[in-house]
Assembly symmetry: C2
Homo-oligomer: 276 residues x 2
């Protein structure tokens, strides 16, 4: 989807993303893009199969050039995590069971708190085909795992990175329900404005003998008012609707054809309108 | 990452994912996979560029066969949403501003509530290059947008679907911090077990004149106890460590070489240990 505003400042903070023996350049590029989407910038590769730099990675990164340019390569995982204070390992499988297992929401909050305390952190992601070895997981402090459908748990590596990056971004938001842009203020009109419209409609309908038989009129008016009140129309909406009703009230379709107004027109359409 | 358990029941409920004029089969396949990861199953395509079925989509779906097999194709978006009660449009750009704009967390909660009330819902995703038209967004009830890095806001379509699918899954969890598997119960040992180990170490160190000079002994013991208490060792960990200390206590490296024990050994290593 479009919407990038390249004039705004690039975010670049937070945990390093560490890919252990990634195989496909396309995946590395997609990882870089996912990181850039959610404000991460430090990518580390352990022994990438096709070496580095990698043209396919650059192509798939979709302009996440700053992530690609800053990517560092290590021969071993031990070297890749040497300067870090706290490391998560991502895994979909249960391991030896002696490390704490966290949900992405929890892990992101921990990473955010450690970032705030000046620690250097990282997240390990395993090979495309079979993830991390137990020895690699053992180098991490804690495990993070995703709440996937148990019947279909295999996450693409770029998607796993995307989810952690997304939770990282959310962990820095005061309100996870905030949005970067908002609806125009949609205050409902005052009751006086609403009633003005309702009375206009009722008068116009009354003139056409819509409320027929008269014994049903109170219930029909209740229903009409319920339907017109429920949406919480705004002042501009009320203005638009009053224009519509005024136009409809001016002459009926039959009158326009020279047949003159007819009483009772439309009376069968309103009786069953449900109030809510 | 691995970990799929195909014996478990496939989840299949929730909103339809509606791709408007998708271009690349690979993306459609990745969308199917992302849906399957988080329990969505109903994929609808509006006028896909390369027709349907699509071999590249099937290859990229990574065994999300049930999603691919159930995919339906429509000529227009109006037909694709005809049976739905409530529809979200995903967009990274501000639009006319007259529709409510929601974060993924909020949208997922709304979709979950409407699903619970028996409504049929859907989420619209636009073309790879330029998203949804304003006319297409107008067919939706509300807008959902992602909290992306403003400097790098362009999300791949499969990643946008992944994030909404992930939030859908989370919206159905009682506790978003729950994980599908857990650490083995790691209860700290009792204080008696901890003190047993500490006293063993102190006695062994005392025998080597480690606490030197004696005026510093109380502070050195405080520090030692702080360091050994802080980790909250479990009972098996205490057992392992006591074995280590017993082995170290049996004879020193120099004794093993036939030189005999030497008092004061290691005394320079402990004085500066910080307590916490």
């Amino acid at each position: 989807m479009a919407g990038t505003n390249s004039e705004r400042i690039l975010l670049a903070e937070g945990p390093a993303v560490i890919l252990v023996e990634p195989q496909l350049g396309e995946n590395i590029g997609m990882v870089a893009r996912a990181m850039a989407n959610f404000g991460l910038a430090e990518l580390r590769l352990v022994n990438p199969r096709d070496g580095w730099p990698n043209e396919k990675a650059e192509a798939a990164a979709a302009k996440a050039d700053h992530v690609i340019a800053g990517t560092t390569v290590f021969a071993t995982l031990e070297e890749a995590v040497a300067d870090l204070n706290f490391v998560y390992a991502t895994t979909a499988r249960n391991r030896d069971g002696f490390k704490p297992v966290r949900a992405p929401v929890t892990a992101a909050a921990t990473l955010r708190a450690r970032f705030g305390a000046g620690e250097k952190t990282g997240i390990l992601f395993g090979r495309e085909r079979w993830g991390l070895t137990n020895e690699e997981v053992a180098l991490a402090d804690e495990i993070v795992t995703f709440p996937v459908n148990p019947a279909f748990a295999s996450l693409n590596i770029a998607q796993a990175v995307l989810l952690m990056s997304y939770e990282w971004m959310k962990s820095g938001m005061e309100d996870v329900e905030a949005t970067p842009f908002q609806q125009v203020d949609q205050k409902p009109a005052t009751k006086s404005q609403l009633l003005g419209m309702i009375e206009q409609v009722e008068e116009a309908l009354d003139a056409r003998n819509y409320f027929h038989p008269l014994t049903k009129k109170p219930k029909m008016i209740d229903n009409l008012r319920a339907v017109l009140s429920r949406p919480g129309f705004t002042e501009p909406e009320i203005s638009l609707l009053r224009g519509v009703f005024t136009s409809l009230d001016r002459f009926s379709r039959r009158w326009a054809k020279g047949k003159g107004p007819q009483s009772g027109e439309g009376q069968d359409d309103g009786n069953d309108t449900a109030s809510e």
